[in-house]
Symmetry: C2
Subunit: 115 residues, 2 copies
DNA sequence: CCATCACTTGAACACTTGTTCAAATAAAAG
DNA sequence: CTTTTATTTGAACAAGTGTTCAAGTGATGG
């Protein structure tokens, strides 16, 4: 097939294979939740153990309600989960997938920066 | 160490190990670029071959300038690269790392939805 | 029960983002 | 050069986001 411009560069007669809208929207949602530095810092902490909101707030130096809102976003995308233990709700990384996403991005960020 | 609340749950005497601010900010930037459905659709197309802006605009049905702005964001985070070939600038995925990020997120999105 | 501790939620604010139009480059062809 | 084709950029707008304060929930312990 020939492009309007007349050139013979790469072109598809049909549109390329597409993921479902739901899948792409879900992926975008996950990336959006991961796109905030304070939220990534929370995941970084949770990668090393379980923490309650109060403790995470103490570690970051932010308001408890601020940290709670951040956790809400992470939880809505199933990136973290929580369990009540006594008075506290302990948060943890939802699964290994999440850690790989973060590690992969960090790797990409650090590797190819020297140009 | 004992938490202010008196409970003996997980706690660090020192703050947990932290990545550098630059690394985390870079990762957040990458995730932010990936957090938009139309931009993910561009990556999906580029995963299957090189395309110029005009063609990507035709595939998505959007304005050329809109697609160009999307590519600008993706390029600023080094997720895509471009090469001039004749009259056209052909865009392509920057490296395999990017594809893994997207695949990983899609996998996470599709897996654990059945609850 | 009542009070307390741990956490969440709603509303308001400043701030950021994605899209679009119009104008501006940039390379190629005549 | 001048024109044409391909793509980028700037400005403006509507829409979305993160933080905070204050008020709300909910489980725990006396």
């Amino acid at each position: 097939m020939i492009h309007p411009c007349g050139d013979d560069h790469h072109d598809f007669a049909e549109a390329p294979t597409r993921c479902s809208d739901e899948a792409v929207m879900a992926a975008a949602g996950i990336f959006k939740a991961l796109s905030d530095v304070p939220r990534l810092r929370i995941l970084e902490a949770l990668a090393q153990g379980e923490f309650c909101v109060t403790e995470l707030a103490r570690l970051s130096g932010d308001e408890i309600s601020t940290v709670s809102q951040r956790l809400r976003v992470l939880k809505s995308e199933r990136l973290v989960k929580d369990t009540r233990r006594g008075k506290h709700k302990l948060y943890s990384i939802a699964d290994q997938h999440v850690l790989e996403l973060v590690r992969n991005a960090l790797a990409h960020a650090q590797e190819k920066h020297a140009v």
